[in-house]
Symmetry: C2
């Protein structure tokens, strides 16, 4: 069976819809619960409010929890709020702790407090603990539902323990081992556990080479670590090596996706990732900060050109190549920036050394600059029958591309040095900087060699 395609979902939707309208609860449950929770969530999301309320009354909190875990994060808040609070609290009790925490983090503080009061004590305490951790750290994405065994158990005892814990644990494929002080001392994969003899001690079969993350570690670094080491789960510890929780690979895939969207948006000059639930006004709010900064930076550029007004009045034709030169500078800079940001975030920059990266960019800029300079000189010389104008633009392009390429790599390096996320030195900023540089070069050359142009 393929995963549900749009048309299959429509068919299913109609069947389920019919069951709901006819208030055929058994029919609905039979069809709906047969689906993967992801598909349940997609169908649920498409329903109108009155149908959603029917669904809340047809499903148990436990069943609803599975649906809510898979619902798009942009809508989840709305659904939780519209439920009867006691039902919502029960739903969150049955969710993975980390997912419940994600939802509560989006709600206002009074709502959170009231939900925590209605919840059973165990869940609310687990959740309260996780709510403390800063966003985007290991603590905020870990779950506390994991299987832990101790060094003195036999393989057989461990397997028995595992069977009991399996239904509620987030993963059972890595089992973490703690000593009598509850410190993390080892790990054993289920693969190794099922191969081992039943009467061996865990401490003899476990691996002591257990990799863990401190609770305050950045989620992006954790994603990279899990990708590098091919881990399905990673234990999270405090500074005394006490096991606090685990991070599973499915959460890490969401982190990777989130971070990629984030870098992508920053390169495009959007301060925060836009979500599907955004209105035009909230989209505009996310885009305006950069646009207003650019407006002021653009005034700077205008100011620079206005200093060359005398040159412009003498040779008005110079103006027509302004967008070409500024545009080339901006784009080259963005290319170099993108490469630099990537190589900083993958750690390649460290390895190769900053000087050699800048040197390589300079060579790259020289090659692209020479190529484009020669082409444009020929084009303009033919078009305007003016070899000097062609040379002026060509040389400007060459110099501009060289400088813009180097600055595109240099600026994120400097930012990184001062602990500013280099992705923020995004396209728009580099573009404006390079606009300025390119215009200085172009009009500077034009003013110096004016006699050849008129």
């Amino acid at each position: 069976m393929e995963h549900l395609e749009q048309h299959e979902r429509m068919e299913m939707w109609e069947k389920i819809q019919k069951a709901l309208v006819d208030e055929q609860i058994d029919q609905f449950r039979a069809e709906f619960l047969e689906l993967h929770p992801y598909d349940q969530a997609k169908i649920f999301e498409e329903q109108d409010e009155d149908i959603r309320f029917l669904i809340y009354s047809y499903l148990s909190p436990e069943e609803m929890a599975e649906v809510i875990e898979q619902v798009d994060r942009d809508f989840v808040e709305e659904f939780i709020i519209e439920m009867v609070p006691a039902f919502a609290a029960k739903v969150m009790e049955h969710m993975s702790t980390d997912d419940a925490v994600d939802i509560l983090n989006e709600l206002d503080k009074n709502k959170v407090a009231s939900f925590l009061t209605i919840m059973d004590k165990k869940s609310s305490e687990e959740i309260k603990e996780l709510l403390h951790y800063e966003e985007k750290t290991a603590g905020s994405i870990m779950t506390t539902e994991f299987v832990v065994i101790n060094t003195q158990m036999t393989v057989k005892e461990a397997m028995r323990h595992l069977r009991k814990e399996a239904p509620s644990a987030e993963t059972i494929y890595y089992i973490y081992v703690v000593d009598s002080l509850k410190k993390l001392v080892g790990v054993i994969s289920l693969r190794d556990l099922i191969i081992a003899e039943g009467d061996w001690l865990i401490q003899d079969v476990m691996s002591e080479r257990v990799v863990s993350a401190p609770v305050g570690e950045d989620q992006e670094d954790i994603a990279q670590m899990m990708r590098d080491y091919d881990f399905l789960a990673l234990p999270v510890v405090d500074f005394q090596d006490h096991l606090l929780g685990i991070i599973t690979v499915d959460d890490i895939m969401d982190v990777m996706d989130e971070e990629a969207s984030d870098d992508y948006s920053k390169l495009a000059g959007i301060s925060e990732v836009e979500r599907s639930g955004d209105t035009a006004l909230s989209s505009a709010k996310k885009r305006l900060p950069w646009l207003v900064i650019l407006l002021f930076l653009g005034m700077l550029t205008a100011n620079v050109i206005s200093r060359f007004e005398a040159t412009l009045e003498q040779v008005a034709i110079l103006a027509i190549f302004i967008p070409l030169i500024a545009g080339m500078a901006g784009n080259t800079g963005t290319q170099a920036l993108a490469v630099a940001v990537r190589s900083i975030s993958t750690g390649e920059m460290e390895k190769k050394g900053k000087v050699s990266v800048i040197w390589q960019e300079a060579k790259t800029g020289l090659i692209t600059g020479l190529s484009c300079g020669v082409i444009i000189t020929i084009l303009i010389a033919i078009w305007k029958s003016n070899i000097f104008l062609g040379l002026l633009v060509g040389i400007s392009i060459m110099a501009t591309l060289l400088v813009a390429t180097v600055s595109g790599a240099f600026v994120p390096l400097v930012m990184h040095r001062f602990n500013i996320d280099p992705a923020v030195a995004s396209g728009p900023f580099i573009t404006t900087l390079n606009d300025l540089i390119s215009i200085f070069i172009y009009f500077g050359l034009a003013t110096a060699f004016m006699s050849f142009l008129i």
Copy 2:
């Protein structure tokens, strides 16, 4: 134990280096094999050629295979080629089939043929099969080392089979079930298998809701599916539902990373992702295509402005705001483009409907345009003491931002419709398009209202 930090790696490196220089093979093996293969690979990559040759002679092909699997893909080709061919062939035999195929795909055809002849028959046949599949499809990233059981086995028999296969299988956490015709009919997780009673039949405990991917499916779609459904592995089938291989989550994380780099590079106008092994010349080659296209597009812009030369000669001051207006248009367009490309690739676009997306972008463009227009009008009116010039630029900015925002969303939609990857309609292209539009608006307005300016 934390994963190896740079300084720990240095320490380890020194120890291992010393063992190598002293030709202490036992010492080297004791230190080196204690490490996670990822760390082994990082240390190995940093060695000079003569030391690498020592390592080849100190490790078995099986041990070397684990290292090579973790080596950066940019270097792996070089290492395989420098090994004695018989050793290299043995190393590839011991690698996961999918990883071996990745390497062979990078080598030239004669080399591949000669490696396949030296390899043992089973490995070379498995590899040959995988070499057929197109790059970036399910077939190219799947592995053929998986555990398969049939419907008629008991749970106990299945566990016994699993214990035997566990050491060589890529994952044992999902076990796929086939019928007597070798068709995929079910799946059971190891979690469910260890909970089940020993004498139950697999067909009674397996889930029949098995999600699979056709062998030609695009890797990006598979990544999305695995992320949505939280799968650790996904079976790959032919059009008759025969099980061909499986894709594991660790390979999917690499795919996600690759696709994110790819989108990021395209937004920056780089035709192909640059790698750490690239020389300045090869970097330049990847960046030049867009730059040359832009050069020609820039000539178009120059041509448009040159049509307004008469206006420019009368009011030279108009030129100073060209970069500001063109820059704002370009950046707004890139923002809208980035949002559109993301929402196309996540499927949100389909869900919301194209008309409503464009309409929302138009409203967003109106808000940002009005805000920026008012600000710039005031700034210029004060700076140049010329309210008409301020209004001209302000109104141009407003109109430009509106049009640029809509076109930034519209162009990728059109491209998507014609099955062109919308990520290719990247920043640089939209920027130039919007340069053109903005200059038309600006000079058009200036020419029409010339009487107010002079």
